[in-house]
Symmetry: C2
DNA sequence: CATTAATTGATTGACGTCTATCATTCCGTG
DNA sequence: CACGGAATGATAGACGTCAATCAATTAATG
């Protein structure tokens, strides 16, 4: 119990890690044969194979990836297909990709951002078809679950390019992985927070907002949200969602309407974007009391809303983490090794009290062209 | 606006990345001179230096880290100094370190876990002094801000070993970085959530629990907590914290006492550990209503508490992310390059609705010896 | 046993960088 | 101009792996 310094060696800390030459020697075969085994070149007798594999596990051989990549001149050419335009969230994500690019270069990883049409099936299809697969080893796509893009996806996949869905998933069978949050769970989380914040047994009316219902993400969030309210907070009523097409103006109008004189709306939940309109509407209305507000994504306007206490909760996807994972994951898949993280990302919940003082890539107005 | 496939190349996707030979050639100097510049070996004329640097930026030269490490036989020998014993949180962290070890081996990174006395200044000092600095390039220490450990830390540091604080910080001047959450902010977050959950303008009495006040983490959390309650929820009263020494039994007793017949306690906040006692106490007491509960760290018992709705909120440090960052950070520091992440980690807030179905390393009873 | 096929060994030249050595050239000083 | 130190060039051998070649050995077949 009180013994200290009990070293539990995981990787044995030997003078030097064993090389394939060591393995060959231990197995009693030539380097060439050992190489044939590890690189599966065939033409190896079962007996030799066994001897080599035994030696490998006996010595704890791990192939030196750096040396291997150096030798075969492997580089990782990655691309991020992000919606262009003025979307604050994706601007933030873009900033993270760009800042990651520099440091990744040292590891022979190149990263490109390719603009695609935001959420437009046809545009996405075009962009995918226009991609020169031979130029990329992996692409991360902010996608859609639409049959129209299956064909270009499979074309890319057939050339060996790794494809992962990012933020918004692709047709499941036609990508290797998805990196993003579980939107239904996020909606449920929002509901739980709002339900709790109404106080035990209190009545309430929550105005829902969303970009559009054809956006699967928003629909999933609303579903999760209403499910939890219905089952766990029966005294609270969810009003029919207002569609804003993620436009700040539309959000502003909707919020103003929801809070017009005599309204009994107790809370707002915006499953979509355009929250600049929300803070504006609340700021202009100078009342001491305001409805509870839960929104998504930490961007300049929602950050300001949190700081100035117009917004109670921001559920954030953490694009920095998503970019990071996307890179690691694609690299793993390209290397053909078992990826580390498998479970969905859990979004970060920001309140007035836990926003980091410096939020990278959030300061507004950075449209720098690299 | 509707143009698609606007490629914005960040790292120019050339046929091949330029090597130092290319740089030397472009600069009109020999490879040896170029090498003297990049490796700062001295004995280079200012003029030559300039020429090489110009060529580097002109070609966009980035040194191939893999090749460099291969050549100089660089390995990264890391150690995690974690409190041993039965602490559920650190068991989880240990599991993450161990599972990371395998995959890191391919990148010439070895990871060891070294048990230290939990939170005991003397034990920590002993463990640090017993460390053979020449065996490690970097160590991550679950530390204490105590003057007694400054000396062993500096001894380690003077041999070039990188030292980072993990979860609980070390004396600031004597470590390179800290990886962990901002505990005061976490306490404030807990307070905000509980404050909101009381409902607008509602009265309340919150029973505070903690391991001990000599534990800086717990003290910071309590400070943040009471600050927010005092300033933003004046109708709510914080009861004097009960010290549990993180023992489940003590927590159980404290909870039972707080909820004894006639009690008007509306909520519980445990800034420390030992939540097995909390769920037990709540489970045994079969009343339909229960106080709001906010606790720290997702471990088997708190997970169960969330699922069975005995606990409302779990504020989790995400040991997986912390381990990951610690490794990346130490590697960066050893390589002498600017680390990527700087701001403190934001803990994940788990509610009943967003716990991942598979929580790695949380299943109880894994005391596997590797 | 001869012939063919399968398997193995031995070796070599990359890959990009580091480290070291040694010979050469340059420059300023006396 | 000669000298010495500073600066530069040229080169070579690692590092661990990949990819390829060719010769040598072994096993399988009729």
């Amino acid at each position: 119990m009180s013994r200290s310094s009990t070293s539990r060696s995981i990787s044995t800390t030997e003078p030097r890690a064993p090389t394939l030459t060591d393995v060959a020697e231990a197995a009693g075969v030539s380097y060439a044969t050992a190489d044939r085994v590890v690189n599966q070149r065939g033409n190896v007798a079962a007996k030799s194979m066994r001897k080599v594999q035994d030696a490998m596990s006996a010595l704890g051989y791990v192939r030196n990836l750096a040396a291997a990549n150096l030798s075969r001149q492997r580089t990782y050419r990655l691309a991020f297909l992000l919606p262009g335009g003025r979307n604050a969230f994706f601007n933030r994500m873009r900033a993270h990709v760009e800042s990651a690019a520099t440091r990744l270069a040292a590891d022979q990883i190149t990263v490109e951002v390719i603009d695609i049409d935001a959420f437009a099936i046809k545009g996405l299809r075009q962009s995918l078809k226009a991609l020169d697969a031979s130029r990329y080893d992996g692409i991360a796509v902010v996608g859609l679950r639409a049959d129209e893009i299956v064909e270009p996806l499979d074309d890319l996949g057939s050339t060996g390019t790794i494809i992962v869905g990012l933020v918004s998933d692709l047709p499941e069978k036609h990508r290797s992985a998805y990196i993003g949050i579980d939107n239904e769970s996020a909606g449920r989380t929002a509901a739980r927070l709002l339900g709790l914040a109404h106080g035990p047994g209190a009545k309430g009316r929550i105005q829902l907002l969303a970009g559009s219902l054809s956006s699967v993400d928003h629909a999933e969030r609303l579903k999760g949200f209403t499910d939890v309210i219905t089952s766990d907070f029966p005294m609270i009523k969810c009003l029919d969602p207002i569609m804003t097409r993620d436009r700040a103006n539309a959000v502003k109008t909707a919020v103003e309407h929801a809070l017009r004189k005599g309204s009994t709306t107790t809370a707002l939940y915006n499953a979509g974007a355009g929250n600049a309109g929300l803070t504006t509407a609340l700021r202009e209305r100078n009342k001491r009391s305001r409805p509870l507000c839960v929104v998504h994504e930490l961007v300049p306007h929602t950050l300001a809303g949190l700081r100035e206490k117009y917004i109670d909760v921001v559920i954030d996807q953490r694009p920095d983490i998503e970019v990071n994972r996307a890179v690691t994951l694609m690299k793993d898949l390209i290397d053909g090794r078992q990826p580390l993280h498998t479970h969905a990302l859990v979004p970060t919940i920001y309140l007035h009290d836990n926003v980091p003082c410096d939020v990278h890539g959030i300061s507004p107005g950075n449209d720098k062209q690299t």
